[in-house]
């Protein structure tokens, strides 16, 4: 192997190392930003690079003016694009979150109002509670839901929503709550569980002629929050489109908030359907990224 070949091989290997570092740095930077502001991290990162590469500056003495100009322009451009990327990506994420606002089925609103009307004359107090639940639910549905909120709030909202569904469906709907080990202070995307429960009621209860149970299981395990929702489900030839849309929506919101640290999996068993959400247990609201 000639010297030329060895140098070529070495440069190839070094390029490979650069690619590996570049590729993995995304996750590292992302976690670091939780603790450290964006501009501080950038300053530190480029500062360290400057110190490490400064011995190479000595060779610049041999460089001509043209090369120096090129180096200077490339450096400024690189710095500009880095800043721009950091500033823009949270904006894009915000915009996506805005577009991903959950929507409730219009059927639910009008059927609930009919159910409340049916109580007005005979059980006015129950009608009052139901209207209050409906107001709370729509307050959350209509507000800006881009910020994380405590899990306990989400669970309370789910309770109110399910109370309304029970009003319509009566004995057909039974709810099983398993939330003794739930970390109520965990910060989660709002309307994370309610749309899933809406699907569970729609596909598992409303379309079935026999009563059914929806089981909700939320617990903390090894620093992660798990939420498992199960409903009865009979495979039919009918469409499943609406469900997939809600799942895709929640999956994307989880990704925008938690990246690879959260996941959503669903599986269809013989006569049940299950959704499993896994996300990190965080009790503080991230502020660094929005800067």
């Amino acid at each position: 192997m000639s010297k030329q070949d060895r140098l070529l091989l070495l440069s190839d290997l070094m390029l490979l190392v650069v690619a590996v570092v570049w590729g993995t740095s995304y996750g590292v930077v992302k976690s670091a930003l939780v603790f450290y502001p964006v501009l501080g991290l950038l300053a530190l990162r480029f500062g360290i690079t400057f110190v490490m590469l400064s011995p190479a500056l000595r060779t610049l003495r041999h460089a001509d003016a043209r090369t120096l100009r090129g180096v200077f322009i490339a450096g400024v451009l690189l710095f500009y694009f880095q800043l721009r990327a950091k500033a823009l990506s949270p904006a894009i994420a915000e915009a996506r979150l805005q577009a991903l606002q959950a929507r409730i089925r219009p059927h639910f609103l009008f059927n609930s109002i009919t159910a409340v009307l049916s109580l007005m004359r005979s059980e006015p107090r129950r009608a009052e509670t139901a209207l209050e639940d409906l107001a709370d639910l729509f307050r959350v549905l209509m507000r800006d839901n881009r910020q994380l909120a405590p899990l306990s709030d989400e669970v309370e909202l789910c309770r109110q929503y399910l109370d309304l569904e029970k009003l319509r469906l009566g004995e057909r709907l039974t709810i099983e709550w398993h939330i003794d080990n739930m970390p109520g202070d965990a910060q989660v995307p709002p309307l994370l569980l309610q749309p899933l429960l809406e699907n569970a009621v729609y596909h598992g209860i409303e379309r079935s002629s026999v009563p059914g149970v929806i089981a909700i299981n939320i617990f903390l395990r090894r620093g992660e929050v798990h939420a498992i929702l199960r409903n009865p489900y009979k495979m039919t030839h009918s469409d499943h489109g609406g469900n997939n849309m809600a799942l895709a929506n929640i999956r994307e919101r989880l990704a925008l908030h938690f990246d690879a640290e959260a996941s959503l999996a669903s599986k269809t068993k013989r006569d049940s359907y299950e959704v499993h959400i896994r996300m990190p247990y965080r009790t503080y609201v991230e502020s660094g990224e929005g800067a």
Binding site: P106, F110, N111, I113, T114, S118, R168, G170, E206, H237
Partner: protein, 254 residues
Amino acid sequence: MTEAPLRIVLVDDEAPARRRLRELLDDCTAALPVLVVGEAGSGREALHLLGTTPADLVLTDIHMPDMDGIELARHLLKLPLPPVLIFTTAYHEHAIAAFEVHAIDYLVKPVRVQRLLSALQKVPRLKPLSDTKLNRLPAAARRFLSVTERSRVVLVPIDEIVYLKAELKYITIRTADREFLLEESLTRLEEEFGPRFVRVHRNCLVAREAIRGFERRVSADGDAHWEVMLRGVTEALPVSRRQQFIVREIGRDA
């Protein structure tokens, strides 16, 4: 008043919705005598009820488990004296557009008493919905076929059908237990139920699920043809020359 009250059956899978309609009908009695003769939680229950309890009007929800309102409307036409039918619906843009196009009466939930009363006052002049009108509504495939036997509507669940065979004017529906006679077109059934049934012959659709296998038969005059063997029934059915490709297509996974 001398006129007999309007006999009404309420169909909705949500009990509060039925209760609300009852209250509203009570409010209407001053202006128009009405009598709720029964309630049902699904189209299937309603059909059962109407077999024994005659009614002039059926107020039915659209989305219901077991059998939806549109399928109920189609089976009701098999009754000797079909009642008038008015749909109640919560919200569904497409369905409502279709109703308007075909001048089919519907009430939007929550129902207003004035709107209900004006619908009730029209009932004596209304005719039962025609099949052609119903066919244009956005409907899923039926879950049952209905036949009239001794002036009662008998439902045959689609899952139980082994084959459908056209004979002269009628179609014979074959289930594992027995046969029924149906007055419909085989082509229309094939379109409605799609891949669930396979055409083995110009006059015959068999349930894909029921196919056990195929056998080659040679008749006395030396002509050879394929026959399809079916689960639940002993008779084998001939596969026509034109449809022979299905032997290869299905034979692979059967």
